[in-house]
């Protein structure tokens, strides 16, 4: 799985962008998006996903269940 940003709720404050350990977050059409290929849900980096922890709007950085759970390299 990866995280995704609910675009309609994103205030475009950019707080998540520098917190992402995978540089998976970029600005696109006025809001921010997460590249699911790069997102590791912060597994192996931090206890909690950083984007969700810093986001000022609740339930805006959420798990995208359409992707399989991230598997850290053995």
């Amino acid at each position: 799985m990866a995280l995704k940003i609910i675009a309609s709720q994103c205030t475009s404050c950019s707080a998540c962008e520098p917190e992402c350990p995978n540089v998976a977050i970029t600005e696109k059409n006025g809001t921010f998006v997460i590249d699911p290929k790069k997102c590791t849900e912060c597994i192996g980096h931090y206890d909690v996903p950083q984007c969700a922890a810093v986001c000022p709007v609740d339930n805006t950085c959420v798990i995208d269940t359409s992707f399989p759970r991230y598997q850290p390299p053995a």
Binding site: T11, C13, S14, A15
Partner: protein
């Protein structure tokens, strides 16, 4: 309650009972040496003679640090710092409207390069613009790269402009050295509590070192970092202002403790602001019905904190992209599209010449006030009252009643005229037709005032004001505010003495909460 007991309440900051002060003290502790502090100045309105020269040099052109300067000099904020590292219950980052004016709100965010261009464009158009601040709309130090890049660019292209920033303080200790390196010599920290139990009611969370903290733990972390940052700044000789939001029932009484805590750590100025909270803002406080203070409650708290520390009373709680004098907002003239199309001619000499003219105006204003003040010598009266003034700046009564977007409030006594606040009002006059509801709003906003000084006023509002017990005064049109107010006050005392009028205590007034019309 006896006069001495009132005095005790007002001057003992440990146990202020706001309600008692409100009910019994119609006349508040003014400026002067009362309270045993021995400080003979009028808050941040203090002029050159009340401040050490090196501090006066730092604040004299800074509208946010000197009440006196705010009549003459303008500031601008550039919105380069959208991210924030804490959540406050009075802030909602989702709400953004061009007609709304309050902190945390901005119409468009800028890159540091756009910001630098904007500063040059504004400085060329408004020569009295002396200060560039970064105040968000998030927290400047949660966006350190953008903030310091902006300072770097501006220091290169417009070296005469003072740089300042306003922060919640969480990240402050990490950046004090950089702040000093960029010659930022004014820093504002918003400190709403020094007790984490109280803080937990104001801050739902803070984000620090890759973790979100909540509750008392979050508030403890925040207050420790704020006070440490404050100490580090003042140790380096950087001038610090502390902003506090007065939230009735949550931190109103506690702000006296905050005042002591920041004063002992060397803060220069304390700015207690009323909570802005309306349901349409969508903030936690707006939605749960938390009210803001009334004008009297705010003034009583500010008065009780005014000991050896300067209190700021002229804050307009402006937007993070505001431009102009504190009472005006010209940000709509400087949108990114417009500034990119502007031909900018940054001429330092023209700016200097204009500012020299402002200084002459300022000196004349102070001299006029002193002269008029001498006529009050020998007058003995306990009467203290408030008056409202319609002004466009320069320390003059130069605004039409119907055009005033705000009124400045002065407290008059035999000690002189002291600026004690301002009231924002909706535009009363729109297209030249008086609107009864707007007039009622204005009267509610200045209901604690005995008189309103204007450059001009129509017949209808004039009679309505008189009915409401507020004397409209237009005979000092285009004259200096303080000089005129003192002259009027002297005449008022004479009229009371002769028995022509009876001095009656006025009621409370409303602090505007709703969205403001920012028609320039």
């Amino acid at each position: 309650m006896s006069a001495s007991a009132q005095h005790q309440i007002a001057s003992v900051p440990q146990a202020p009972n706001i309600t008692d002060i409100m009910q019994t003290v119609a006349e508040h502790k003014g400026c002067g040496t009362s309270g045993g502090s021995g400080k003979a100045s009028c808050g941040s309105g203090a002029g050159q003679n009340d401040l050490p020269t090196e501090i006066w040099e730092k604040v004299k052109n800074h509208p946010c640090y000197s009440e006196e300067a705010h009549h003459h000099y303008a500031r601008m904020h550039v919105a380069v710092a959208p991210a924030c590292n804490i959540q406050c219950n009075y802030c909602n980052r989702k709400y953004d409207c061009a007609n709304e004016s309050r902190p945390g709100v901005v119409s468009e965010k800028l890159t540091p390069e756009q910001a630098a261009k904007k500063v040059l464009a504004v400085a060329s158009t408004i020569p009295q613009m002396t200060v560039l601040g970064i105040a968000g709309p998030g927290d400047p130090l949660a966006n350190p790269e953008k903030t310091f890049k902006t300072f770097e660019l501006i220091a290169k292209t417009a070296p005469d402009i003072k740089l300042c920033l306003s922060t919640n303080g969480l990240a402050l200790p990490d950046h004090v050295d950089t702040i000093a390196d960029f010659n930022v010599d004014h820093v504002t920290i918003t400190i709403n509590m020094v007790d984490p139990e109280i803080g937990a009611k104001i801050y739902p969370w803070v984000f620090w070192k890759h973790k979100r903290y909540t509750g008392v733990e979050a508030a403890k972390l925040l207050t420790d970092r704020q006070l440490l940052g404050l100490e580090m700044l003042t140790a380096r000789g950087i001038l610090c202002k502390v902003n506090s939001v007065m939230i009735p029932g949550i931190n109103d009484k506690h702000l006296v403790e905050v005042n002591k805590a920041v004063k002992s750590r060397g803060a220069f100025l304390h700015n207690i602001m009323p909570l802005i909270s309306a349901p349409e803002h969508g903030t936690v406080f707006g939605l749960n019905g938390q009210r803001g203070p009334s004008a009297q409650e705010l003034k009583a708290l500010q008065d009780s904190c005014e000991g050896e520390m300067n209190m700021m009373r002229h804050c307009r709680q402006c937007r993070a992209d505001a431009v102009g004098l504190l009472g005006e907002d010209r940000s709509a003239e400087f949108t990114t599209d417009k500034i990119m199309a502007m031909e900018v001619n940054y001429d330092l000499e023209t700016r200097k010449a204009y500012q020299a003219h402002v200084e002459e105006e300022r000196v004349a204003k102070v001299a006029a006030k002193q002269q008029e003040l001498e006529t009050l010598a020998g007058e003995a009266s306990d009467i203290k009252l408030l008056v409202a003034v319609a002004t466009k700046g320069s320390g003059l009564i130069n605004e039409h009643f119907g055009h005033a977007k705000e009124f400045q409030v002065y407290e008059l006594s035999t000690g002189g005229a002291k600026f004690v606040g301002h009231r924002r009002v909706d535009l009363y006059c729109q297209g030249g037709y008086g609107d009864e509801d707007s007039l009622a709003t204005v009267i509610r906003a200045i209901n604690d005032c005995h008189a309103v000084f204007v450059a001009k006023i129509g017949g209808c509002p004039k009679s309505d004001l008189i009915t409401a017990g507020i004397e409209p005064v237009d005979q000092y049109a285009h004259e200096f505010i303080e000089k005129s107010a003192i002259a009027w006050f002297k005449d008022y005392l004479d009229r009371v003495k002769r028995g022509e009028i009876e001095h009656v205590v006025r009621g409370d007034a409303e602090i505007r909460q709703g969205a403001l019309i920012s028609a320039a």
